[in-house]
């Protein structure tokens, strides 16, 4: 039976090739969209987990915008009172409460915006990814500054050298240059918190407080307690993640719809191919029926042919998806500020089984009508007509 199916599939190689190509294209597009969405979600989650931050206290306003801007090291227009830090540190669930003061210093005539981040030892402890490329990743004096690797390269500074800020008329000593972390810290200037508060005329004010809990499971209770503070909003990393994922999910649903339309089109192409094949071979099927084949057996022939075409298309689609993956990643890098690390497509057993399962389901569905048509070929009538 398998040989019979193979012969019939290869009877019209061009038609068969086009059908397989249609299925392959739809499978490739669906796989890439699905996996790219999953990869972005995993990257977002990893980025948030890398920060080690479970909660963030930010001033009133849109909390997610504020949290996202702080995570990216951008300044906010309003600030928190210092009491927010004291209350956070007094909470028994809080392991680390790290204050941040972020100030942007624009110099439009030179096309420059310097971002200074005031942190203390708790803020450094929260940054688990900090490693000193040279010098130290700690402050020993109030006039010291730590540079991200890109900031150090642009300013051509090394540990021990001086950096002058014309806008604030402050001279700093570079205590260390950080290793590249792939975060926004790479292009920032880090100061001791008190120095930043003095320089930017913000005594006892903070941009945000980043919090790591002793037990991440207690995030809800801790959030409820800290939300009681006036002028303060508390954002959890789950909420931040949830917002980003919701936005991503909307885009992904839209793209998936397009891919599913493509898949339906390829399914219709497969059905059309099978119907044409059945129409061409009605005499053959009548002959099978005449020599004793049951309707089920004839139907099974068609179903097997459909399965073969669908599986061939699925495998070709996976290969095509791998081939297109570098191009898609380059395109995503160009249009998105959130680069994807590693491969978009992960070839694991689950992914393969899911793709092949989808192909099998497709094959079964589209083969129903052609199989019924083939099985209902009247043996006597067709054979009489052939005479």
């Amino acid at each position: 039976m398998f040989e019979l199916v193979c012969k019939s599939v290869l009877r019209r190689p061009f038609r068969t090739g086009l059908t397989i190509a249609g299925v392959a294209l739809a499978v490739a597009v669906l796989s890439l969209i699905d996996q790219a969405g999953a990869a972005y979600k995993a990257e977002l989650s990893a980025e948030l987990n890398k920060t080690g931050i479970h909660l963030m206290m930010v001033p009133l306003g849109c909390p997610y915008d504020a949290a996202a801007r702080v995570l990216k090291g951008n300044s906010l227009e309003s600030s928190l009172p210092h009491e927010a830090l004291e209350i956070a540190r007094g909470d028994p669930a809080v392991e680390i409460a790290a204050p941040l003061l972020i100030a942007s210093v624009p110099r439009p005539e030179q096309g420059r915006v310097d971002l200074f981040v005031g942190i203390d030892d708790s803020g450094i402890a929260l940054r688990r990814w900090w490693r000193a490329e040279s010098g130290r990743d700690r402050f020993n004096a109030a006039n010291e500054i730590i540079l991200g690797v890109d900031a150090a390269m642009v300013e051509m500074r090394s540990a021990g050298e001086t950096l002058y800020s014309p806008e604030t008329k402050e001279r700093f000593v570079v205590s260390g240059i950080l290793q590249r972390s792939g975060t926004s810290d790479d292009s920032r200037f880090f100061l001791p918190l008190e120095t930043a508060q003095r320089i930017f005329n913000s005594p006892d004010r903070l941009t945000a407080v980043a919090i790591r809990l002793r037990d991440p499971d207690g995030v809800r209770e801790a959030t409820e307690r800290l939300r009681d503070l006036r002028g303060v909003q508390v954002v959890t990393s789950t909420e931040m993640m949830g917002t980003f994922v919701r936005i991503l999910g909307t885009v992904r649903t839209f793209l998936r719809s397009i891919a599913l339309v493509a898949l339906c089109a390829s399914a219709l192409g497969l059905a059309n191919t099978l119907l044409m094949s059945v129409a061409e071979r009605r005499f053959e099927f009548s002959l099978f029926r005449a020599i004793g084949a049951s309707r089920l057996q004839v139907s099974f022939l068609i179903a097997l042919e459909s399965l073969m075409l669908a599986l061939a298309g699925a495998v070709a689609g996976l290969i095509l998806a791998f081939a297109l993956e570098p191009g898609l990643k380059a395109l995503l890098l160009r249009i998105s500020s959130f680069p994807l690390e590693g491969r978009i497509l992960g070839l694991d057993a689950t992914g393969i089984i899911r793709t092949l399962g989808l192909a099998t389901f497709l094959a079964v569905i589209v083969s129903l009508l052609p199989a019924w048509r083939a099985a209902s070929s009247p043996p006597a009538g067709m054979l009489k007509g052939a005479d």
Partner: protein
């Protein structure tokens, strides 16, 4: 085609996909774990105010394009001329070629130089004779007194119409000023970038004319 051949083709396709994925996964991991430390080249100094400078420096210019010329093949000659080892970023000459349609109008070269308080970014506009027509400090992090000192030295006038051969004397001449140190760094930077341009820039521009 026999069943066994078809099965063999199907199996080969699957094995190819699996094998390719496996090979790339391993090689990715190896690269991440065993990347050697390589001193990083500074990113190229951009031409910050290109649109504005273009209209003033090269009236009639219709376009500019970036040309990167590899100079690593000439490093011995360049080391000799510069009198020092090349910096990693000096293996490539990053130049902005200015044109009026097909006619070459000039070249803009940019560079960062290291000063006591931070980097100083400069832009130099050359005419078709490779002489300096324009000079500009794009960015600097110096205190007021040094900025005024640099302005008083009027580096732009000192550099006007100079070629790379003329610069040696000028560099040595900057001594008595509060801005002497950054001025010397700037002059050295201009001289270096002109030497690099002479080594590589003419070849690339000649091909475009």
């Amino acid at each position: 085609m026999s069943r066994s051949v078809l099965i063999a083709i199907f199996g080969a396709a699957l094995c190819t996909v699996v094998g390719w994925r496996a090979v790339h996964s391993v090689s990715d991991v190896q690269v991440q774990n065993s990347r050697p430390f390589i001193p990083q080249a500074m990113p190229a100094c951009p031409w910050r105010d290109a649109e504005s400078d273009l209209s003033i420096w090269f009236p009639g210019a219709t376009e500019y394009r970036i040309e990167d010329t590899i100079l690593s093949g000439k490093w011995i000659e360049l080391q000799h001329r510069l009198g020092r080892a090349l910096f990693p970023e000096e293996n490539v000459l990053h130049a902005y070629i200015v044109r009026n349609h097909d006619a070459l109008l000039g070249t803009v070269l940019t560079r960062r130089v290291k000063s006591e308080n931070g980097a100083i970014e400069i832009a130099v506009g050359l005419n078709t004779e490779d002489r300096i027509d324009h000079f500009k400090i794009q960015r600097l992090r110096e205190p007021e007194e040094i900025v005024r000192g640099l302005e008083s030295l009027n580096l732009s006038a000192q550099l006007r119409n100079k070629s790379v051969q003329d610069l040696d004397g000028i560099v040595a001449g900057v001594t008595s000023s509060v801005a002497a140190s950054p001025a010397r760094e700037i002059m050295n930077g201009v001289r270096s970038v002109l030497i690099l341009h002479e080594a590589g820039g003419k070849n690339s521009r000649g091909a475009g004319r």
